[in-house]
């Protein structure tokens, strides 16, 4: 009986500390900087918003690549 309890306790604490770790990571990465937005995000975010976020991420990547390329070109010209 106690062995089962010990195991449960161990798993429970492990899971809850993992969740705590995720929470700490989320706070440190600024996801809760805007508390109102975080709450509204839960209510309103849809698949459309997720797709937009992916598109924006792709756009950022392309823009960064283009900027890098133009920088390289400029340095070659010099």
């Amino acid at each position: 009986m106690n062995n089962v309890l010990i195991l449960e306790l161990f798993v429970g604490i492990l899971v809850s500390f993992s969740l705590l770790g995720i929470l700490i990571w989320a706070i440190k990465s600024g996801q809760f900087e805007d508390n109102k937005k975080a709450m509204d995000g839960l209510l309103f975010d849809s698949t459309e918003d997720l797709q937009n976020a992916v598109r924006l991420e792709e756009k950022r990547k392309k823009m960064k690549e283009a900027k890098e390329a133009s920088k390289e070109e400029q340095s070659k010209e010099i």
């Binding site: 106690n2 309890l5 010990i6 306790l9 429970g12 604490i13 809850s16 969740l19 705590l20 929470l23 700490i24 706070i27 440190k28 600024g30 809760f32 900087e33 805007d34 508390n35 109102k36 937005k37 509204d40 995000g41 209510l43 309103f44 459309e48 918003d49 937009n52 924006l56 756009k59 950022r60 823009m63 960064k64 900027k67 890098e68 133009s70 920088k71």
Partner: protein, 801 residues
């Protein structure tokens, strides 16, 4: 006439004055709303309205400030930074954000623009960070995009204070999250522990529960509670007994005792739960304080964004752009249309038109003649003017207001100090009682272990949970009740000051009056042809008087003929002149007509607008600011509850006295500058009054910051909204009355709760000292006292009417 909501902003107006699109069954309150609605439709952004739900937003903002200034080199140096990838980055404050849908719309429009790499808007403080590629899009184009959808953006400099406040907030938030997370887990484990206490529990199982609680309580004490240890250390170093010392001492003592039980050095129950609860409760309070400081920094950033960046001075006949600090007394300055005057001065060219709403609160444009005074922060609404600086920047009106506001915000949290003092004395008393209990029992002959248990019982039973909960839980219920009635209380502490109010200072424009001109009387009827001409003339100006006449014509007449006017010209500070088939049309004040040789015999105390054609006056209008419907009832309510009412306005004495007498206010002050208003509040406070200030404009900001409670109408300026302690979202005076009632009722319950928890302590602590209460029962009764306080608070919203 039935009221219908605007298809864009959702504000409701009479159907007769709405712009109708019958084919689509759409109604708009203004051209701005109509424009933005169709823009969003064409850009496939109409899901904005789904996200908006039933919420109401303000009609689109129109900005007079040209975006070319965003391209100036001095602007770039001050605000634009370059990222390591070579993109440009700026911090902006977005004006006009009301809800999550507004944030979504702005972010979406910017993110969809070519060249914009990142646009993230913080909904809480309306600050935005935009990163873009200068080779693809300019900053002016980005600002234009924001303006096209009805919002406005100002740059702000992220100062070291902002960075520090953000860092502190994040640090406290992290510590508080860990504390709440661990405490919630401990509470769940507690259910098993206390259930086992009554129904029996194996000692091995209890041991496991203690281990689990130890694992959760340890980070709370040493990580979350680190702030208290640090505060206690500095307190001891400076020989001051701080609340931090008491919290850390009490929690550590209980922790050590529980550790001794865990390692079987003594027998009994552990109290890791009490350790976590004490730290968590006090930490939440501290976090709210930190949040208050961050809000003060955000408010100052909004105020500072109102300051112009640079000024054009005329030196030896040539124009020169200089920073504000370089302007000296006597310099000649030039201000173009839409620009703000940077320092105070006197006009030296022919008169102009100025929007002085930031100083007087009046929405009317004021005409300025030779030698008239110009105040910094006011906006030129006419042609280019030149003026001589009479003060340097640091001593000018706007700069003085900003400095005073900064001081006022820094010294605001006096109530918090009072609350801290009370808990400090409470904690000190309890700690001394616990020490006395320990010494008393030990000297009486009890063992060290029993003496310690009794001392711990005193600390646990007096754990300030019920006392700590008494105010916040009642306030929380009161605040959520208020929010359902459209009243936004920013912090709970204002409920107490609100309930104790003895004087209410009311601003005139926007608070007692609508702040919008409307036609009061018309001299005669207008025939169809003249109607068309007058409508065309008023439509070609954005002056508040023209807008009011146009609105009146739209509401009164149907089928107004469409007439195209030619050579429309603005006559400085007087009105408009236009041509129609060789006829000269004039629309404006009496002095405009006099200039064209037309005699006007009409006289009035109100603003006048004459329309003349071919040298004859066709029609004259009297215009006045409308008094809000519920003003009389509200003043009567204040008189009934014995609150003194003072009206304070920047407007002239005649107008202020007329408005005051028509709503039944006996005490009024007129022609007050923002600093005069703030002085009035200071004087009242020095007389020992508890002052509530109600306002809405930038001119009220300083007075609002000085008042014990600042109430702001929802339609007010962004800075005013930021500084307000209570925001009345629907702008109604009925809301003001409701907020008084809610605060008074909530405060009554706060007092009841405090009495209940103190009574509980008075009864239980003597028992604990006498050794009749073991720590476990102490912990249970402590929870019961908290439940008692929560249960009592639930009754607050019961009596809604």
């Amino acid at each position: 006439m039935a009221k219908v909501p605007c298809s864009h902003c959702r504000l409701e107006f009479d159907e007769s004055i709405m712009i109708q699109e019958k084919n689509n069954d759409l109604y708009f309150c203004c051209n701005g709303c109509q424009g933005v609605y169709h823009l969003l439709k064409s850009e496939n952004l109409d899901s904005f309205y789904e996200k908006l739900g039933n919420r109401v937003i303000a009609p689109p903002l129109t900005s007079t400030n040209p975006t070319q200034s965003f391209e100036l080199e001095s602007f770039r140096q001050r605000y634009v930074k370059t990222t390591k990838e070579g993109f440009s980055s700026i911090d902006l404050i977005i004006e006009g954000i009301h809800c999550a849908a507004c944030v979504w719309l702005n972010e979406k429009v910017l993110a969809d623009s070519d060249g914009v790499l990142e646009a993230s808007i913080n909904f809480t403080n309306n600050k935005a960070k935009v990163i873009w590629d200068d080779e693809v899009i300019s900053l002016a184009q980005i600002i234009d995009k924001i303006r096209s959808i009805g919002y406005n953006a100002y740059p702000y400099q992220r100062g070291s204070e902002d960075v520090k406040a953000t860092k502190t907030r994040q640090d406290y938030f992290l510590r508080m999250s860990v504390a709440i997370f661990a405490s919630m887990n401990i509470m769940m484990i507690d259910v098993a522990k206390y259930a086992g206490f009554f129904s029996g529990i194996k000692s091995e199982t209890l041991e496991l529960i203690h281990i689990a609680e130890f694992i959760f309580a340890t980070p709370v004490l040493f990580y979350s509670g680190w702030i208290f240890f640090r505060g206690a250390y500095y307190g001891v170093k400076n020989r001051i007994v701080t609340m931090d010392l008491l919290v850390s001492f009490g929690a550590t003592l209980t922790y050590i005792y529980s550790l001794a039980i865990l390692f079987k050095l003594i027998n009994g129950h552990s109290y890791f739960d009490s350790v976590a609860m004490i730290i968590t409760f006090v930490l939440v309070g501290k976090f709210l304080e930190v949040l208050g400081k961050k809000n003060a920094v955000d408010t100052m950033d909004k105020m500072k964004s109102q300051i112009p960046l640079e000024a054009t001075i005329i030196e030896d006949g040539a124009k020169k752009v200089v920073g504000l600090d370089e302007i000296k007394e006597g310099d000649i300055l030039e201000v173009k249309y839409g620009e703000k005057a940077s320092v105070d001065g006197e006009i030296i060219t022919l008169g102009g038109l100025f929007d002085e709403s930031s100083i007087t609160g009046e929405s009317h444009v004021v005409s300025k003649n030779l030698n008239d005074k110009i105040y910094s922060g006011t906006i030129n609404m006419g042609d280019v003017i030149r003026y001589r600086a009479t003060k340097d920047y640091a001593n000018s009106t706007l700069s003085t207001i900003v400095t005073l506001l900064e001081d006022s915000l820094a010294s605001k949290p006096k109530i918090e100090e009072k609350a801290n003092n009370i808990s400090k004395y409470f904690s000190l008393t309890i700690l001394l009682l616990a020490i006395a209990t320990f010494i008393g029992w030990y000297l009486y002959g009890a063992t060290f272990e029993d003496s310690l248990i009794n001392a711990i019982s005193v600390i646990v039973i007096a754990c300030p949970c019920a006392l700590a909960l008494a105010t916040p839980i009642a306030s929380l219920i009161g605040i959520s009740w208020a929010s359902k009635r459209g009243l936004l209380f920013k912090e709970a502490k204002f409920i107490e000051s609100f309930a104790k109010t003895s004087v209410v200072v009311l601003d005139k424009t926007g608070t007692i009056t609508e702040g919008k001109l409307s036609v009061k009387s018309v001299s005669n009827t207008i025939d169809s042809e003249m109607l068309g001409k007058l409508y065309a003339l008023t439509s070609s100006s954005t002056h508040p008087i023209s807008v009011a006449i146009k609105r009146y014509l739209e509401a009164t007449y149907h089928d107004i003929p469409n007439i195209e006017l030619e050579n429309i010209a603005q006559v400085e500070a007087k009105g408009l002149k236009a041509n129609w088939k060789n006829q000269i049309l004039l629309g404006g004040n009496s002095s405009l007509l006099k200039d064209f040789g037309i005699n006007v015999s009409f006289e009035s105390h109100y603003s006048l607008y004459h329309f003349a054609s071919e040298g004859k006056v066709i029609v004259s209008f009297e215009l006045d600011d409308t008094i809000k419907n519920d003003a009389l009832a509200m003043i009567a309510y204040f008189k009934k509850i014995g609150v003194r009412v003072i009206m304070a306005s920047g407007d002239n004495t005649n107008v202020v006295s007329r408005v005051a007498s028509s709503v039944g206010i006996e005490e009024f002050k007129s022609q007050l500058s923002p600093i005069d208003k703030a002085n009035l509040i200071d004087t009242l406070k020095a007389e020992g009054e508890m002052v509530v200030m109600v306002g809405d404009g930038i001119n009220d900001v300083l007075a609002l910051s000085k008042a014990d409670v600042a109430i702001v109408m929802g339609s007010g300026a962004d800075v005013a909204l930021a500084i307000g302690d209570v925001v009345i979202l629907d702008n109604s005076l009925d809301g003001l009355q409701k907020s008084f009632y809610i605060s008074k009722r909530t405060y009554k319950f706060i007092k009841q709760n405090l009495a209940l928890s103190l009574l509980y302590n008075l009864i239980t602590i003597p028992f604990a000292i006498m050794g009749f209460v073991i720590p476990l029962v102490a912990a249970l009764s402590m929870s019961l006292s908290s439940l008692m306080v929560v249960g009592n608070s639930m009754r607050i919203g019961k009596n809604d009417e």
